[in-house]
Symmetry: C2
Subunit: 329 residues, 2 copies
């Protein structure tokens, strides 16, 4: 059984990671490539990054030894519904020398499986966007939010960035000197923390600096908010608290009160050791005191585990999870 | 003195109106044309609509009799800063046969002057967007909000429309059948009030219907919210109440506590007899119990009054306001 190799891929917006694992947990190879979300980058580009990452993972592996594979990516449903996109992925898989079939999972399921082997539970992801999903028998069930920056993504990196700019504009409207977080946002957007006389001119410069770029780039300001919260800046602390409450509210839309199955926290804002992660954990623990809270880990390994579960020789998937997927709490 | 003629124009995003008035209040002519906001339509197009409206107002008037004129428009500052835009407006003015100079005012000042002759006060405007401004000596002073749909316009038509869709998406996330306002928003966006199984598919259709259009078109849903509030729909009532509180909050950014000078309410959402107008008045009356609340009226007549004030024969501007500008409370 230890000779069997499985492959997993985690295809994200900014990077693609691949892992080739033996069922005894030995990692035979890892691969990395650029962002490959088929929705934002196109299926051809995504398939190209997939192939690059796969070749990295399989550099020292005979690909015919690979018995199962899985790919986690955002917009998995859209890829599966698109024959051309599916064909591009099939081609990349074949060009990597792989002969086994592969499964495609939503990135939320892979994030969930990177934090726990329990078949039922909840995953909450906050990065540029934000989404919560129920998992039933290791399949995605209902979701909440994930509706994009214009209508949703409450508590996400986009939300933090936009609210930070809104607080700055309120200071400028009130002719209050921007301090702390507001001053840093102002400097980031206009190149200077100085306010013109009248402040309206500075407010207009701020609005123009934001509207020159795609709206989603407001998420680039989220690290400023998190850093301000770490330092105890009152606005930073307040926005992080509001974001955590919004994220937890999204979870309440789909997770029953009193549920005791695990909640996995994923996405850049919740996997790093940030005040937002701590605040989100506190909100979740308050609402579901008996639920284990886990942190998402290695998505490529989790995808490989999801694939391996289907093999006949795998009789104890949770035990295999403990071997294949390094988890933290 | 009654032989003197003044001209005023109110250039809006959807229509341009012109009035030619004698100082005794006799209206010699009115003109109307399409939207002429130079920021959204370009200065040439705006100048063309201006000329059309002017010709309508001057059809029965010898233009050399016109002694003063004023134009109110959104983005007045930008027009004045743009030599080509200013030249296009000069040309239209000249082509209409006018030989007197003209002034250009922000639309917020003209809205203010259409509601009161008092030199100092506040104007609050809510239409597609939302802005509040202080007026000092009949000039715009500080402003609050007006920062556009991505970062501001709190309590505006855009805000009402976006929040109505967000409430619908929350219902769909919670697998709660959308009723009342949510059902109407769903039907407006997808052509049917029916929810798919799973509701996620309907949520995605809603998001796609919104993101296919420019974001600002969310303001087209505002009348649904207002109508729902009129009928007592709980979500409609709640959103209207939140919008009124946000609008009043914008006013607090610039208007001192205890101020007793007038507040003029302008823009389509506040000049019509809507629950939002009533709620905004209640919020303002609670914060500034001693301030008269006025409703914006005829912007073209107000612009004409602003122009006439500069004439040597006008010694009592408030009295002239009473004659030229029909006001309501």
């Amino acid at each position: 059984m230890s000779g069997t190799v499985v492959v997993g891929l985690d295809v994200g917006g900014t990077s693609t990671r691949a892992a080739a694992l033996r069922l005894d947990g030995v990692r035979l190879g890892s691969g990395r490539a650029g962002g490959g979300n088929p929705t934002s980058h196109g299926a051809e580009r995504a398939a190209h990054e997939l192939l690059t990452a796969l070749r990295g993972a399989l550099a020292e592996v005979d690909p015919t030894r690979v018995r199962a594979g899985a790919i986690g990516l955002a917009g998995a449903g859209r890829l599966l519904a698109d024959p051309a996109g599916r064909a591009a992925f099939d081609r990349a898989w074949h060009d990597a020398g792989l002969r086994c079939p592969y499964a495609v999972h939503g990135d939320a399921l892979v994030a969930y499986a990177s934090g726990t082997a329990v078949p039922d539970g909840t995953v909450l992801i906050a990065g540029t966007g934000a989404i919560a999903a129920q998992v039933r028998d290791l399949r995605l069930d209902r979701t909440a939010d994930g509706h994009g920056w214009l209508l949703g993504d409450a508590g996400s990196g986009f939300w933090l960035g936009r609210e930070a700019v809104r607080r700055l504009l309120t200071d400028l409207d009130r002719a209050r000197p921007p301090g702390g977080l507001a001053a840093r946002v102002l400097a980031e957007l206009t190149g200077s923390p100085d306010v013109a006389a009248p402040p309206r001119a500075t407010a207009e410069a701020v609005v123009q600096a934001v509207t020159r770029r795609p709206p989603v780039e407001l998420a680039r300001l989220a690290p400023l908010v998190v850093a301000a919260a770490v330092e105890g800046d009152p606005t930073g602390v307040e926005l992080v608290g509001e974001a955590a409450a919004l994220l937890a509210e999204s979870v309440t839309r789909i997770r029953p009160a009193g549920a005791t199955d695990p909640v996995v926290l994923g996405g850049g804002l919740l996997t790093a050791d940030t005040p937002l992660a701590a605040a989100a954990r506190a909100e979740l623990a308050r609402r579901w005191p008996d639920a284990p809270l886990r942190t998402a880990g290695d998505g490529a390994a989790a995808a490989a585990w999801l694939a391996a579960r289907e093999l006949p020789e795998v009789t104890d998937p949770p035990a295999l999870h403990a071997v294949l997927v390094p988890t933290s709490t």
